[in-house]
Amino acid sequence: MTLWEVFVRPRRGLSHVHAGSLHAADAELALRHARDLYTRRQEGVSIWVVPATAITASSPDEKDAFFDPAGGKPYRHPTFYELPDGVEHL
């Protein structure tokens, strides 16, 4: 049976978050199993199921090359802008 990854959106306005995985023969059954396994205590309002094989993941071996270069670059955070007076909702 296919392995499926389950993503649950806890509330409207939030994004889907990985909740876990399960086995099912097809997508329709995977969705129902996900409902029974991951939302029976009102954890969600929307579910995605994705075949685990459809996910391309970064490799732990590449972790240094992938993520370390972002360290020590605080100028990438939008904290250096001076807001003109009168700008709202920022």
Binding site: L22, H23, A25, E28, L29, H33, D36
Partner: protein, 221 residues
């Protein structure tokens, strides 16, 4: 009006039947799914039986002949196909009953649960009917064995026959399964549960359900 004893007993007995799958289902996921269906029905049974009297006394201290559930729900789990077919036939009925009584608190809440139950049974019936040669053989056998018990459901609720036929007929078409012909038998073979005349399968089910309470009355966790 929804008869609290008849439908409460239906829910209680079917919940107990489904609970029999726990740790025995084909997969872990299915185990949880069946337990969920069982718990939905147990909740409805408790609410309905509480209307008829003391829920514990009614569940634990009645003998088989005092139960008013239909014969369909007490039929053994059999294989997975039989459980799916039984669930399709019964929850197709209970969904229509609840949908017809939106003024009833249990029905108004239960109709959403039952919509899920009958859909769950539908997608499995379709997969089993159109799956392998073996799944089709088993599903056809289950349908033949359980179909005759459906007549009893409509003796008290004749108006539900038409919507039930439409739903179940649609599922069977989708599953490429034929409506079975009921073999000739004395009429009492397929009905009587609502009057306390049960099949031989109810007593062992109740023995297991009631054992603890009868040995230690009022036992609590």
């Amino acid at each position: 009006m929804i008869d609290p004893l008849e439908i409460g007993d239906d829910c209680l007995v079917l919940a107990q039947r489904l609970a029999g799958w726990i740790t025995r289902a084909p997969t872990l996921e299915e185990d949880v799914a069946l337990a969920n269906l069982s718990l939905d029905l147990l909740g409805q049974a408790r609410a309905l039986l509480s209307r008829a009297g003391d829920e514990d006394r009614l569940a634990y201290l009645r003998d088989p002949a005092e139960f008013r559930n239909c014969l369909l729900v007490e039929q053994p789990n059999g294989d997975f196909a039989a459980t799916v077919v039984r669930h399709l036939l019964y929850t197709g009925f209970l969904y229509e009953l609840y949908a017809a009584h939106p003024e009833d608190e249990v029905a108004a809440k239960g109709v959403k649960e039952l919509a899920y139950h009958r859909d769950y049974a539908r997608i499995w019936a379709v997969r089993l009917g159109r799956g392998t040669e073996e799944s089709r053989r088993r599903t056809t056998a289950a349908l033949g064995a359980l179909w005759p018990y459906t007549g009893e459901l409509f003796e008290t609720e004749p108006d539900l026959r038409e919507p039930w036929d439409t739903f179940v007929g649609g599922v069977l078409r989708e599953a490429e399964l034929a409506v079975p012909r009921v073999p000739p038998a004395p009429a009492t073979r397929w009905t009587g549960g609502r009057r306390g005349r049960h099949s031989e399968h109810l007593a062992p089910l109740l023995a297991e359900l009631q054992e603890l309470h009868r040995a230690h009355e009022g036992a609590r966790w």
